[in-house]
């Protein structure tokens, strides 16, 4: 019951928002009163207005997109057109939105997975070794808050390849939170577990799989969650700055054309991709549970 209520409220809020947006961006129909023939010609020449077949004039719909903030209908129209061509490739710089999403998700997945593997391995090593952990921890604390984009010029300069640079920026965003929490989680495992493992004389591998990783799993997953969020945030600006085709670069291209409807569409796509990835990740994370 409560669920239903909030759902209703959500929809009402959305409708309210769309109505306000629509009304706020409404334009009066074009009225040629008080304008000379010459002025009308100039306005037509400049793309302000278009001549209808019956000789009357109307605002140029092309220009509606760039006049201040476009209304929801303009954005809807843009969305329809873009989704209609989702799988098309028109040359090297104009790929459909489905392709762009694919590129971005691939880039994101590669960086995030690599970072997770590296971070968990290093984290376990650090977590098991108190001395090393204390020695290295200050560096992790210093490196963790550095914005991943701050690394970009340095990475670009060293790897000399924008495609890899984009993946590495995502890597940089994702590696620190997981590393720090894994090390912390392994470090604060209950000593009884490790003692039991020692008494049972489990092999190293078994110890890792049966005791250490499951024991630290909740903390590790928490770290992965934080990493996931910051990687998602990093991938879009990385694409913007590097000019790699993807949803991040899409908003930049639309901005290049000052097509605000296109920019809004790109933002919506980024949001949709984020929601889908996030819920998928949460489902996976939910599998990693254990009872004391």
């Amino acid at each position: 019951m409560a669920g239903k209520d909030t759902w209703l409220i959500s929809v009402t809020l959305l409708i309210l928002f769309l109505v306000v947006w629509h009304v706020a961006t409404l334009q009066k129909a074009f009225d040629p009163k008080g304008l000379t023939e010459e002025q009308l010609q100039l306005m037509e020449f400049n793309g302000d207005i278009v001549r209808n077949p019956d000789g009357s004039y109307a605002w140029n719909p092309e220009k509606e997109k760039v006049k201040g903030v476009p209304g929801p209908l303009t954005v809807l129209e843009k969305t329809r057109v873009e989704l209609g061509e989702a799988f098309e490739k028109k040359g090297t710089n104009d790929h459909g939105i489905a392709w762009l999403v694919l590129y971005t998700v691939t880039r994101f997945a590669a960086g995030f997975l690599a970072a997770s593997v590296v971070a968990i391995i290093l984290g376990v090593i650090l977590g098991l070794n108190k001395v090393l952990y204390r020695a290295v921890n200050p560096y992790i604390q210093i490196l963790k808050p550095i914005s991943p984009l701050a690394w970009m010029p340095l990475l670009l300069y060293t790897v000399r390849d924008p495609k890899w640079t984009a993946v590495l920026v995502v890597f940089m965003a994702a590696v620190w939170p997981t590393l720090a929490t894994t090390a912390f989680g392994v470090n604060s495992l209950r000593k009884d577990y490790l003692h039991v493992a020692a008494i049972l004389q489990l092999s190293w591998i078994k110890r890792l799989y049966k005791v250490i990783l499951p024991g630290a799993a909740p903390t590790i997953v928490n770290g992965l969650r934080i990493s996931f969020g910051s990687a998602l945030v990093a991938v879009v600006p990385a694409e913007m700055l590097l000019g790699e085709l993807g949803v991040g670069y899409l908003s930049w291209i639309e901005w290049n054309n000052l097509d605000i409807a296109g920019v809004i569409f790109a933002i919506l796509v980024v949001g949709a991709v984020g929601v889908v990835l996030d819920s998928g990740f949460n489902k996976l994370a939910g599998l990693v549970t254990y009872q004391e």
């Binding site: 092309e62 220009k63 006049k67 028109k90 710089n93 924008p162 291209i253």
Partner: protein
Amino acid sequence: MEPKLTSEQYFEKTVERSVVEAVLRAAGPSRRQFLAGLGGAALTALIAEVLPLGKLTAFAADPVGKPEKKDLSVGFIPITCATPIIMAEPLGFYKKHGLNASVKRAAGWAMVRDWAINKEVDAAHMLTPMPLAITLGAGSVPVPFYMPAVENINGQAITLHIKHKDVKTAADMKGFRFCVPFDYSMHNYLLRYFLADGGVHPDKDVQIRVVPPPEMVANLKAGNVNGYLAPDPFNQRAVYENVGFIYKLSKEIWDRHPCCAFTVSKEFATTYPNTFGALFRAIVDATHYASNPAHRKEIAAAIAPANYLNQPVTVLEQVLTGTYADGLGGIKKVPDRIDFDPYPWHSMAIWILTQMRRWGHLKGDVNYKAVAEQVYLAADCDRIAKELGYPTHNATAMKHTIMGKVFDPSQPEQYVKSFKIHSMA
């Protein structure tokens, strides 16, 4: 004037001359004096003893040497200056010369520079000062670059916010905030020249910021800046958006000034000589095609789609045909508002270097002539123009007139010292 040569003779002569030039360039100063004292014929004979000139001529004369690499990528910035580079793809100029090239859009000059240096693209659209700056290592790692061809001449403008309708001279612009697209750009140097000519010190009396052109329009809209000197279509775009007016076309500052360029790294040109030759031919061909006013509408339609410039056709047509709304309610007709001529005059490079000196972008002594000849491949450009049946030149330097003041490329240092307003230490 030399006596008329057949094209074969002319070609042999060109090959010989380039070899001689290369030898002279490679020789040390004392040896150079000795060699230069020999005179052309004796020197050629001397070189022929150790270098198979005939073979070299045959090699260079083979215009359809198979490209070593067919699939190319050429970087560009979405502005009308890149017209020949862009249109060569949809209109088939790359194909015509045996290449499968595609153009790759960058979002800023630093990006295109990094792509070119990191070999993400094989060739790139740059601003005419950039290959000079990159070669000299100003603002980047020094990497030797060639500029085989100029893309466009003219084609920029000073655009001001509509509220400055009454501004008449540079002096009225004191305290303004301007944008230019890049430090090492003709836009920056022309704006500075214009302001200084009117007694305004560009580093003290106004602010000049480096901003990507689309942001210039948005900033003008928001009132954050008073104006900018930008490449088109962003001047026309300000008129189209009803926020700015075109105060002065750059051609009124220096008619036929260079703007953008087609560039390759020295490494690319020497590793793939045939590919480079084919690419060079495609670009010269496209540039000449674009210079014909009759083709401008067709070109505007070809480069408007989202894959290339992603701009309204009406804006591009106004830029390319030169019949445009000026933003003050008038319609102007300036057919050469933007024009296309590939020949990279060494004197253009020398002028750019003098301005780099003048505004502190280059410190210390500059060997103007040597840098210009190393980067701007005028002789090669003419050789290809001749091959394709386009007019050629009989000099690589000329005197230019900028805002009524004559620039003599043989006296660059004097020219630099002649300015009262400068930012030299």
